[in-house]
Structures are given as structure tokens and as C-alpha cells.
Amino acid sequence: MDRELLLGDEAIAQAAIDAGLSGVYAYPGTPSTEITEYIQARTDDKATHNRWCTNEKTAMEAALGMSFAGKRALVCMKHVGMNVAADCFVNAGVTGVHGGLVVVAADDPSMHSSQNEQDSRFYGDFSLIPMLEPSNQQEAYDMAYGAFKLSETTGEPVLMRIVTRLAHSRAGVARQSAQPQKPLSFGEDPKQFILLPGIARRRYRALLDKQPTFVRLSEESPYNQYIDGTNKTRGIVACGIAFNYLMESYPDGCEYPVLKIGQYPLPVKQLKQLTDSCDEILVLEDGQPFVERLIKGYLGQGIRVRGRLDGTLPTDGELNPDKVARVVGKENPAYFAASPLVEMRPPALCEGCGHRDVYTVLTEILKQEYPTHKVFSDIGCYTLGANAPFHAIHSCVDMGASITMAKGAADAGLYPAVAVIGDSTFTHSGMTGLLDCVNADADVTIIISDNETTAMTGGQDSAGTGRIEAICAGIGVAPEHIRTIVPLRKNYDAMREIIREELAYHGVSVIIPRRECIQTLKRKKKNV
């Protein structure tokens, strides 16, 4: 058997390499990170761009640039990264592409390691571009392999939407033949990428005119399959991984007609066939009720549709084989009750982590000397400062929001307004907020807890390593209020002094506690 055991993420990565990829552009984010890491391990950056980008927007834009130049580019991000990349992503639908451009958005229903459950298919729909959603690792490979061509023939970026369970599950995958990279070339229309209103209107019209073609492609796609069943009391639409959960309940074939969906926009022909022949439609999709809403319509008059919206399935949380089994009347019995002894075991900051020292000293001072303080934190390992024993933070919203929320609260009269942000998050989206603070001379104390890596997602290179002070000074923070310290127990007195001084200062101050992440340090020592 010529199959390799690959994670869904790795299958996509291998497919992109085999399809003649010239560059992957990405910022880490669970569950998408392994796509780029796999490509990094197997290509040379000189031949195939594979370095991490500063954020998802720079990634999306650079990839569009590579497509402009005729080569095949891949962009990868977690679902919330789509919000950051959205400006370019949506506009890329209007410019269209030249070289194949594939965007992978990895959604995280159930929020295993995310702030929300947003469903990226809404972005694809919003941008009016073709979308792919694999049900298994082999499909993930085949779809990604073909997606570059699909992008080139439709002239549009292709969005590939995956979910955690596919991204982080391993199965056997067979590969297709490797293609060479595309040569440098440029499109025929010199104005294609100039979105001045006059040109944008023309291109948008052209995008709208392509929609029937996209529907036809979906109807002809091998990834959209009508599988007939004998029991027509119900027809089932199963999108992406939901198809597997359904088949788990029907190892020898489903009694109901099933429309398996893997390519969007929805195939009208097969959908009509299903609705015409069945009494009601059950929609199974992981994430938000995207397809269900489309079929049902806002007023819900017409076809009877079951799914998350009518309470047939829970409205939140990822889909799983148990939820699907229950809906089709094949509930799986439990033979052993859950043990009352089992306690929650939440993740925690590692023993010896520098963020611990920062929070220990910071909370001691704030709780004793500034009972009215608020700490605006951000996204990263240091968000775990919300848990025992620190209970140190009052917010964690989106990357970079610590600095700007602290500014807004300070503008409203809060004192002291403290921000805690990691180095990678700072360069991702914190720098622009810092400029706002400097321009307004905001009364904020910003702590950039620098572990010289992107730790939360597994220790990827951090874009500003070695240059954080220079960046702050360049943005305009007064040099005497940029304070650096090594967060170690032996330095607690010096840390206390710096924190006290900068809290007392009414202006922008930046404190940079810097000590390498103990996990990356351990790995380095092991590899020596």
C-alpha cells in the first residue's frame, strides 16, 4: 500500500508541494500551524518561500503578490486569522488571481484553542469565490492538489475550509505526481490589480457574472456526490467531515438519500434533486449553520429543514459521531458512567516560565498598591495568567487588543491601565496600537513579555526578536521609558522598582521582561 500517514494539515502541505508551490505565507495558529511547519521541513526557503509572516494580512498580501507574478501560492491561518486577512482576502476576490492562490482557513468548532467558533465558509460566500471542504485526509490532499488549477481556471482565489478534527487527525494518504513550479509571468490585463472604483466596478461585475460557472463547477465536482437511499422521508446534506460522522452510524450505507458536499457554492442541481424527492432535509455541518440557513431561507417557509437552527442539533460546539447518531435515531449507549472523581485539569504556564515571574511581581504590586487597576491582556501563553494562582488579567479579546483597549480605558479615565502582550503578538498587531498611544500621549503601562518565540503555538520564530526596544523607540516611546529586565526570582526587587516607577509615570511606558521560553530552550539543548 503506497500510503503515508499524514495529518490533514500535512496532507494539504504535501499536496501544495506536489502541485508546484512557489511559496507558503502564514502566521501560526492552531489548528493550521502544521501545514507551514511541514513545508518548512521539506523545502528550501530559497526555492519555495516558507518563512513565517508577521501576521495573516501580510501573509495574504504577499501571496497575492506571488500570484500576480504568475506563481502558485498558499496562505494558511486559523479561522480568526481570516478577520485579520479579510481586507486583502475580500478584495482579492475582486482583483482575481494570475498564478493559483489557495487560502486555507482552519476552523476550530468547540474552541479547543480559540476565542470563538466563527465559520470561514461565510467569508468564502461573502467574497463570492469557490470553496472546498474536505471530509478526510485523502480528500484534503486531492482538493489542495487540484485547488491551484481551480484557482487558475476560475481566475479567483480558492478558499479551503478545514476543521480541527481533520487538521489534527492522521490517516493514510496516496500522493499524485509532482509538478514543477510555474515560471514568472504576468496577466493580460495590466489593470487587473488596480482597484480604482472604475476598474473595481468592472471587475466586481465580472466576478458576479462568474457565479453561474462556479455553481456549474460544483455540480460537476467529484466532491459533491448524490448517494441515493430507499427511505425518502428524509434527505441528508452532509458537509465536509460531517459525512464521516454520518457514515459511522451507517457502515453499510445510509437508508436516506445523502448529498455529500465538498465544493461550494452549493450544487443547485443535486440539491433540487434531494429536496424534490424527500419530505424533509437534515443538514449536518461542522461549525455554524451556513448551509442550513441558505436552504431554509430566513423565514423558514417552504422546505422543512432540520439542523442546528430548529434545535435538532445543538447550536454550539463541534459536531461528532454521537450527536449525528442521536439525530438519526441510532444513539450510542454508554456502558460505564462518568466517574465523579474526575476533576478538570486546565492547562497552565510551565514551571520556570518567565511569564510566571512577570505576573507574580506585577499582581503583587497592583493588588497592594493600586486596587482600582485593570490589566488588559492578549493572546498567547501569558493569557493563562487569568487562571490560579495569578488571576491577574481582565481581558483577552484579539491579537493586539491589550494595548488599544488599555488606551481606550485610559482615555475613559482608568488609572492605572496596564497592557500585557507577548512579543509575537506585539509585532502581529500591537505596534500600530502603540503608535496610537504615543500620538495621544496615553497614560498606559505596556508590558511586552518577551520569550523570544511564538510559544503558544509551539515555538515558531517571532518576527521582532532582538528588535523590540528599537521598534518601540522608532514608534516614538521615550527611551527612558523603555525598560528591559530579566524575569527571574533573583531580580524581583529590580522588577518591582521598574514596575513601580513606570506605573507612577503618566505617559506611555513599555517594560520588556525578556527571558527565552523554557520549552524552546529545552529543545535547543536537546538538539546540540
Binding site: M1, L5, L7, T30, P31, T33, E34, H112, S113, R165, L166, H168, S169, R170, A171, G172, I241, N244, Y245, M247, E248, P251, N320, P321, D322, A325, N332, P333, A334, Y335, F336, A337, A338, S339, L341, V342, E343, M344, R345, P346, P347, A348, L349, C350, C381, L384, A388, M456, T457, G458
Partner: protein, 193 residues
Amino acid sequence: MKTDIILAGVGGQGILSIATVIGQAALRKGFYMKQAEVHGMSQRGGDVQSNLRISDRPIASDLIPTGKCDLILSLEPMEALRYLPYLNENGWLITNETTFVNIDNYPEADEVYAAIKTIQHHVLLNADALAKEAGSVRAANIVLLGATIPFLGIDDATMQAAVRDIFARKGEEIVTLNLRALAAGKAISEQRI
């Protein structure tokens, strides 16, 4: 042939190293396999699990349904109990007895052991001690893996070959040590059948 396994433990204990060996063995047999892992947040000392499914027929779901798991293999006793509703009627629960206490409200160890012993098909073993006897505490995961052999649906020889494959690049001494650890775990389970 179909074996559905839940691997359980605490982030950093190395459940994925066990999955790698079983995966290698399944590949040698030409079986289908799916293995869902948890990456990200939960690796920081939180609970972690992996669903490993092996079959001679194509496998649909990446996740094991309630009541369908044939084997819970846990590196930590309280973590073994977390997944009980997934265990099937005749399923086996195999767990290390060494507790990993990183929360204030960790239950009394004796109560945890008592709960494990209420499951008729259980193997509770001190993998750390057995690994030490075999040559290194670091082989504790392989002891536990050995304890699954009677229930795995993959024969002993294939498992040994998989251990050899995985550890080959670390030298013959490490291979022998791990084969001893594997045999020690298997012997414990055989006494329980």
C-alpha cells in the same frame, strides 16, 4: 478486525509516542488507521487524549463514538477514568498507577484505584517501576504499550518489529531495553486475562 483505542494522559507525558509505535505496527499489517490528536492549549499540563482507530476496513469517523472504545490506555490513573463513557461493554482499561498531581483538587489516589478496580476488565500497573527494571524509567510508555498487546488485534511479533523500527536510530542498546519494557508490560496483562 477493528480496534478503537483512546490514549490518555497529561500534556507532556508523551501519549503520541505510543500512538507512533501502534501506527507503525498497523502500517506493517496494511491496516487502515485514523488517529485524532489534540494540539495546542492542552499541551501545557492539561489533560490530553488521542483517538486511535485501526481496522481492516475503511474507517469513517476520526472520533470514537460513545460506548465503542475497545481499549483505554492511560499514562495516569485519573485520566483513565475521564473517558469511561466511551468504553464498550467488553473493553479493557489499562493504566499506569503513578498519579500526576498538578491540581489542588486531585482526588485521593486510593479512591481513584478503587474506581478503576470496579471495571471488570482493567489492568492497573506500575509502569515506572517496571520500566526501571527493564533499564530506564523513560520506557514507561513502552511498558504500557506492551500491556495492550493481548487486546490490540496486532500480534506480538509485529509490535516488536514496530518498536525496533521506531528506536533503531537510537542504537541497539535502546532497542533491547524497549523490547524488555514491552515484554514486561505484556506479561502483566497476560496474568489478568
